[in-house]
């Protein structure tokens, strides 16, 4: 057996204060950030007190984000956020982020520089794995784990084996991070990486901007993965340089590290992807989609609500109109992104095309509000899950895709590539 470690193993070894760790080993790790949202924080706070918690371990490192039902969609949501706000005040938390100052958790934590390369982070939200794009170990846990970690600043983890995905070559036009991850999940299945760390490498990844890297790591949980990771490079340093307010470490895997499996994809094989209901693994290339008429298109979510995603959608929608009978909902991922999208004129492009632009929220992604589907309705969405009932009625359907496909589909009224718009 080799002695080398993968990046993920090194991250966990550092946080556990050990020289080496091996897959399968249980370790107790010190945490750099503990996060909870308006779904998971109420139970986490209850558990925190039941566990005998009095003060959080570090008021800078416990981050609460209200994003799922923001702006509070009903009285119950308002009460929940009020409870979070009171806890944040009492514990003097530095970061309590709600409507008007925040956005979707997995977009704002990196954007605000709260998560940095080398960190070990847990969040009471399954898409916490997003921060692997920065070279951090991050994973989703439940409320009790978050509550305990808020009190102790540590958690136990089983060191995952690493599965490596090497992607080489230049991506097709209209394809991006979303298509790479949908394609990958299509190849290995929704439990293809169960308990594992998914590491992405190769020339395609090296050429990918941060937005696409976040999208890839965001969806590793949809393959059952515990965490995603991309070795931090110049692109990451560029991203964190002006954001970081503390030290960070960029780690690289050893050349002789052990991988549980190595997969190799050629970017040329990755058409823009569409995942059919009701599992993300039902991915097909856009040329194999057939005629799927839609009632709604959604561009947003922690998967694809970044400025780059909005630009990609606006490029397609510019000078065009959303088809009759289709609602096209655009949701900037944060207050800052909303502001920049407004300054760049993207919001105007969207409004002129007949889209509606929402304030930042998870909203329709989890069937909460701001665009819930009725029975029999179909939506194409840049979100990450298409489970039964995810965006509304149990008899509605969600097709997952990247921003260019979602935007083109809104114009055509059926799922299609922007290429078809130009031709037509």
């Amino acid at each position: 057996m080799s002695t080398g470690m993968t990046i993920t193993e090194k991250l966990l070894a550092n946080a556990a204060g050990k020289d080496t760790v091996r897959p399968g080993e249980f370790v107790t790790c010190k945490l750099d950030v503990v996060m909870a949202n308006d779904i998971t924080a109420p139970i986490a706070i209850e558990q925190f007190y039941k566990m005998g918690g009095e003060r959080v371990f570090d008021a800078d490192k416990v981050v609460l984000v209200a994003d799922h039902s923001t702006p509070n969609k009903d009285i119950r949501a308002a009460e929940i956020v009020k409870g979070m706000r009171e806890f944040a005040r009492e514990q003097e938390l530095t970061h309590f982020l709600e409507a008007g100052c925040g956005g979707i958790e997995h977009i704002i934590l990196p954007d605000m520089g709260l998560v940095l390369p080398g960190d070990v982070v847990i969040g009471a939200d399954s898409h916490t794995c997003t921060y692997g794009a920065l070279g951090a170990f991050s994973t989703g846990v439940g409320s009790s784990d978050a509550g305990a970690a808020m009190a102790t600043g540590e958690t136990w983890l089983r060191v995952p084996a690493t599965l490596k995905f090497v992607i080489e070559g230049e991506l097709n036009r209209w394809a991006g991070g979303k298509d790479i991850i949908l394609y990958t999940i299509g190849q290995i299945g929704v439990d293809g990486a169960l308990y594992g760390a998914m590491e992405f490498a190769g020339s395609t990844i090296e050429a990918l901007p941060m937005a696409g890297r976040f999208t890839i790591c965001n969806m590793v949980i949809e393959a059952g993965g515990k965490s995603g990771i991309i070795a931090p490079d110049e692109e990451v340093l560029e991203f964190v340089r002006d954001r970081a307010q503390r030290d960070f470490t960029c780690l690289a895997g050893d050349a002789d590290a052990d991988y549980e499996a190595v997969y190799e994809w050629s970017a040329a094989d990755i058409e823009p992807q569409v995942s059919f209901p009701h599992l993300p693994e039902n991915a097909r290339g856009i040329s194999e989609v057939g005629e799927i008429r839609i009632d709604q298109a959604v561009v947003g979510a922690c998967t694809n609500g970044r400025l780059e995603d909005l630009r990609a959608a606006a490029d397609v929608l510019e000078g065009r109109k959303v088809a009759d009978g289709v609602r096209c909902i655009i949701i900037p991922g944060s207050q800052q992104i909303h502001l920049e999208a407004t300054r760049e004129g993207l919001v105007e492009t969207f409004l002129e095309a007949g889209c509606l632009v929402s304030t930042p929220t998870c909203g329709p992604c989890l069937g909460g509000h701001m665009g819930v589907l009725a029975a029999g309705e179909k939506a194409v969405a840049t979100t990450n899950r298409n489970f039964i009932g995810r965006m509304g009625h149990p008899e509605s359907e969600v097709y997952l895709a990247g921003p260019p496909i979602a935007a083109a589909s809104a114009v055509a009224g059926r799922i299609c590539s922007p290429d078809e718009l130009c031709a037509g």
């Binding site: 929704v190 949980i221 989890l366 009932g389």
Partner: protein, 166 residues
């Protein structure tokens, strides 16, 4: 502990939106969560489930979100344990944290039929299908999970830890 009840059988990839849809996550009350357990995939589940019953399912049970509401709803619906071919990892962790026993036993998960009378001996690692007469063993838990079970969940474990520090 020996649990006994009827099996409610489901397939692979039962996700957390199926176990409890997002529209019912605005509560911390287990009894209220229980009334919505499985409602989008099996509307009669709540009316059929009796205290002690088991959920039996295929692979990747509990995939999807990190909502602890999922195992809480199952437990509060009276389900004594979940037997599956495999579990998604956050659900796995959450279940032990809140004290819902879950058992990975693929053969039992495949063989047990919907409605079978099942007995589970958690201490001795034995599943018995009283309807078919079949039996399966399952491995005892190890590591931090075993410690969690021993003290009765994460609340107690953390209490002890914090108490020991102060």
């Amino acid at each position: 502990m020996i649990a006994r009840g009827r099996a409610h059988k489901y397939g692979d990839h039962v996700d957390t939106d199926a176990i409890i849809p997002a529209r019912h996550l605005d509560t911390t009350d287990p009894a209220e969560m229980a009334t919505h357990c499985m409602e989008d995939v099996d509307a009669d589940f709540v009316s059929r489930a009796q205290a002690g019953d088991m959920i039996v399912a295929g692979k990747n049970f509990g995939c999807g979100s990190s909502r602890e509401h999922a195992p809480i709803a199952i437990k509060a619906a009276g389900i004594s344990c979940v037997i599956a071919a495999g579990f998604a990892r956050i659900f796995y962790r959450n279940s032990f944290n809140i004290g819902l026993p879950i058992i990975e036993q693929a053969d039992a998960a495949a063989a047990i039929n919907d409605g079978d009378e099942v007995e589970v001996d958690l201490e001795n690692g034995l599943i018995r299908d009283l309807t078919s007469g079949e039996e399966w063993a399952f491995a005892a838990l190890t590591g931090p999970v075993a410690e969690l079970i021993e003290v009765g969940g994460l609340v107690e474990l953390t209490r002890r830890k914090l108490g020991a520090e102060s």
